[in-house]
């Protein structure tokens, strides 16, 4: 198959566009999530609508570098305005985000209503994108006709990749410890704004394909899923990219079969992967968490029982009152069933010995109790 044949294949080009959107977003998303600024991507991708319309009205450009840079500045403007509102100490940060982006978005939509009712950026595209038609809109690159979306998304993906690789340690430190990064002269705020500028630019470039809102799914859901699967930052990026690619391919296949929105299905697939990661992730997932809680609750019951016996060891009431199997429930405020299972586990764990009704601590049980009661001795 020749290069041009690949470039002319609608299915491949649609998937390529989706994959590039997903990759470019998954390279930036982890840093936003780790900084707990994920909602800035929501604000940015709504606000760029205003920038896109203004740049179009000023220059006539509907795509390309002018459009990307110009509109991306509105994204950064959103963040600046939000910070100004928060700095006024009259609005909390969550409310500030929710005040700024609707204004810019509204202005954008109204300008579209007024001046652009007949161009291709109508209100519908703004929200949903037209990934199904990206292959129709091509530009010449050397001997080839390349879909515009693929060209610009490819460029953005490359820029994001270079940025993340070149500033890896600066980004990492600025994300985890901005104060230390500042002390080292690594300019964490400049890093943050560069990150936001690239987020905005990527959102603008992806806008034709997936629209303003679906882009948010690509930048948040795959890295969020990755965050549940790994503790290493570089793995988080790699897993995020992989999830994006899988979502794109599966989303395309499903959308074509059901005859529904391709972009929507791709974005919905990122949600499916997030849900899967949530339920199944080996350490940070729901199932693992519930099992851990159960184990912890059982362990705490055993420890409570052991400490209870230790506290009353050698006291006058030990024999006839406290340290007896039947007395555990009333004393610890447990039901008989709960006291019974806790005692069985303590016996099985070798913490406690039973002689008829009387209960005695084993050396292991006594050591456990002491470690709990006097934690300062451990260190």
């Amino acid at each position: 198959m020749s290069v041009q044949a690949i470039l002319d294949d609608p299915a491949l080009m649609i998937m390529a566009t989706g994959a590039l959107v997903g990759t470019a977003a998954a390279l930036l998303g982890p840093f936003l999530i780790l900084r707990q600024n994920a909602m800035l991507s929501d604000a940015i991708s709504h606000s760029i609508v205003f920038g896109i319309v203004v740049v179009w009205m000023a220059t006539g450009a509907v795509a390309g570098p002018v459009q990307i840079v110009g509109a991306a500045l509105t994204g950064v403007l959103t963040v600046v305005l939000t910070e100004v509102l928060v700095a006024s100490r009259r609005v909390h940060d969550d409310a500030a985000i929710g005040l700024v982006f609707p204004v810019l978005f509204s202005l954008g939509v109204l300008l579209l209503n007024l001046y652009a009712s007949d161009v291709h950026i109508d209100a519908h595209t703004v929200l949903l994108g037209e990934i199904g038609f990206v292959w129709l809109n091509t530009v010449e690159v050397g001997p080839y006709l390349v879909p515009r979306a693929v060209l610009w998304m490819g460029t953005m993906t490359l820029i994001n990749l270079v940025f993340v690789l070149a500033f890896w340690k600066e980004l990492k430190l600025a994300t985890f410890d901005p104060l230390l990064a500042h002390a080292f002269g690594l300019m964490p705020r400049a890093m943050f704004y560069a990150l936001l500028f690239l987020t905005s630019s990527t959102a603008v470039a992806a806008f034709d394909a997936v629209g303003a809102i679906l882009f948010i799914a690509f930048i948040i859901a795959p890295p969020a899923a990755a965050y549940l699967l790994t503790d290493r930052l570089w793995k988080m990026l790699v897993i995020g990219v992989l999830i994006s690619l899988l979502s794109t391919v599966l989303g395309y296949w499903l959308a074509v079969r059901l005859d529904v929105s391709i972009g929507g299905t791709m974005a919905a697939m990122t949600g499916v992967f997030l849900t899967l990661a949530w339920v199944l992730a080996p350490r940070h997932g729901l199932t693992a968490g519930l099992l851990r809680d159960l184990r912890r609750r059982r362990l705490d019951e055993t420890r409570a029982l052991v400490v209870h016996l230790a506290t009353h060891e050698g006291t006058p009431e030990e024999r006839h009152e406290e340290n007896r199997a039947g007395a555990l429930g009333p004393h610890l405020g447990w039901t008989d069933a709960r006291a019974g299972t806790a005692l069985r586990r303590s016996l099985a764990g070798g913490y406690v010995l039973r002689e008829g009704e009387a209960l005695h601590l084993t050396p292991k049980g006594r050591a456990t109790a002491e470690a709990l009661l006097e934690p300062w001795r451990r260190g």
Binding site: I33, Q36, N37, A38, M39, D42, H46, L85, S88, R90, V91, H92, D94, A95, G98, L99, P102, V103, F105, S106, L107, V109, L110, N113, L114, S117, A123, H124, L127, L128, I213, L214, F215, I216, A217, I220, A221, A224, Y227, L228, A255, L258, D259, V260, S261, G263, G264, T265, M266, A267, A268, T270, G271, L274, W278, H284, G285, L286, G289, L290
Partner: protein, 378 residues
């Protein structure tokens, strides 16, 4: 159209009533969304309404607002649960949980929307108006379900006012009084979802978030009491709803949602700038007054020190010297003091700059300021 025609216009009356209902309920509930730091929950709830809208449409088989609102409430509720569960059971924080819920649910809505369209159902035309809101698409029969939901929410807030207030301010203390805090918190979130649902028709899913934030932020600037804040927020909500709806209904096909949001945001901007006490402009004016007063006192004591140093109560100080002492032009300060009768210009040699002397009143004032400063230092 003349104003009389406007009031008589059947469609417009419907639109105005719808806008007022929407403004009232979102205004009241915005107070609790903002104070409980759930501002962006409204954002998630409104975007997440889209799949529910489609579901309601599919169930009813046609565009019927009651079903659509029920569907929106349903999917919004699931999104809220998803956010809560995701933050409770994993290490993801609220921002990532809200962002993923908002976008993924919206994506599901887009899928559902295209699925309905592919089904070739003619009546689906009305569905896309839920994206940005379309006042003109509102029907007389849409008003009763909107009014019922809004009335229910506002009534609940009124009846349980003191409990709601306490749980919003200090939930831990509320628990020690034996209040069912969790139930009340869940009910408040549900009511924010109700407000969102009422506004879908007018404002649309994308911008409804703003309507459960902006009225409260504006109202907060004008008052220090929750009661007044809630009433003001309701007023601001109704005002933005009505203004936006009227412009949209009169205009050339402008989407209603953005107009309502811009009206609400304009009220926020005015409130942030001009609200007495809290307004930014007031604060700046106060700071400028303080700075002027401080400069006046400084210049007065400088003149006093010069007079003391030269053992001459009427020592004429050259303006340029005072300027260079402070590093800025002191003429306006001196002129203000002149107007208060505390200093006066003195005759001076031609070619020299202006000279100033303390008047007897100025001398007394300067000594008072001086004593005040040394007294405070002691």
């Amino acid at each position: 159209m003349s104003p009389a025609d406007l009031l008589g216009d059947y469609t417009l009356r419907t639109v105005l009533m719808g806008a007022a209902i929407l403004g009232l309920v979102s205004g009241v509930l915005s107070v609790f969304a903002v104070l409980r730091r759930q501002s962006l929950m409204g954002d998630a709830l409104s975007h997440a309404a889209l799949p529910g809208i489609c579901l309601g449409f599919i169930v009813a088989g046609e565009r019927q607002l009651g079903w659509i609102m029920a569907g929106a409430l349903f999917s919004g509720g699931i999104a809220a649960l998803w956010i809560l569960a995701l933050t409770r059971t994993t290490r993801l924080k609220t921002d990532a949980a809200i962002g993923s819920a908002l976008s993924v649910f919206f994506a599901l809505g887009v899928v559902a929307l295209t699925w309905i369209q592919a089904g070739g159902n003619v009546a689906q035309a009305g569905l896309e108006t839920f994206l940005f809101g379309q006042a003109a698409a509102i029907l007389r029969s849409d008003l009763p379900p909107m009014a019922a939901i809004a009335g229910l929410a506002v009534l609940a807030i009124t009846v349980f006012w003191k409990e709601v207030k306490l749980v919003t301010f200090d939930p831990v203390f509320a628990r020690t009084l034996g209040l069912p805090v969790l139930t009340i918190e869940v009910a408040l979130t549900v009511m924010i979802a109700l407000a969102v649902v009422v506004g879908l028709q007018m404002v649309g899913v994308v911008l409804m978030a703003s309507m459960v934030i902006a009225p409260a932020v504006a109202a907060r600037q004008w008052t220090r009491r929750l009661e007044t804040m809630t009433i003001l927020a309701a007023v601001f909500g109704v005002a933005s709803g009505v203004i936006g709806a009227v412009i949209s209904a009169l205009g050339q096909g402008l989407a209603t949602g953005p107009l309502i949001v811009l009206a609400a945001s304009a009220i926020v901007l005015v409130s942030l700038a001009f609200a007495p006490g809290r307004g930014v402009v007031w604060e700046a004016a106060q700071r400028a007054r303080d700075r002027r007063a401080l400069r006046g006192r400084q210049v007065l004591t400088t003149l006093l020190h010069l007079a003391q140093a030269h053992r001459d109560r009427a020592y004429p100080a050259e303006e340029g010297m005072v300027d260079s002492f402070y590093g800025y032009r002191t003429r306006r300060t001196l002129e203000r003091l002149d107007r208060r009768g505390l200093v006066a210009t003195a005759s001076h040699m031609p070619g020299e700059g202006r000279h100033w002397v303390l008047t007897p009143e100025g001398l007394a004032e300067a000594e008072r300021v001086e004593a005040d400063i040394t007294g405070r230092r002691a």
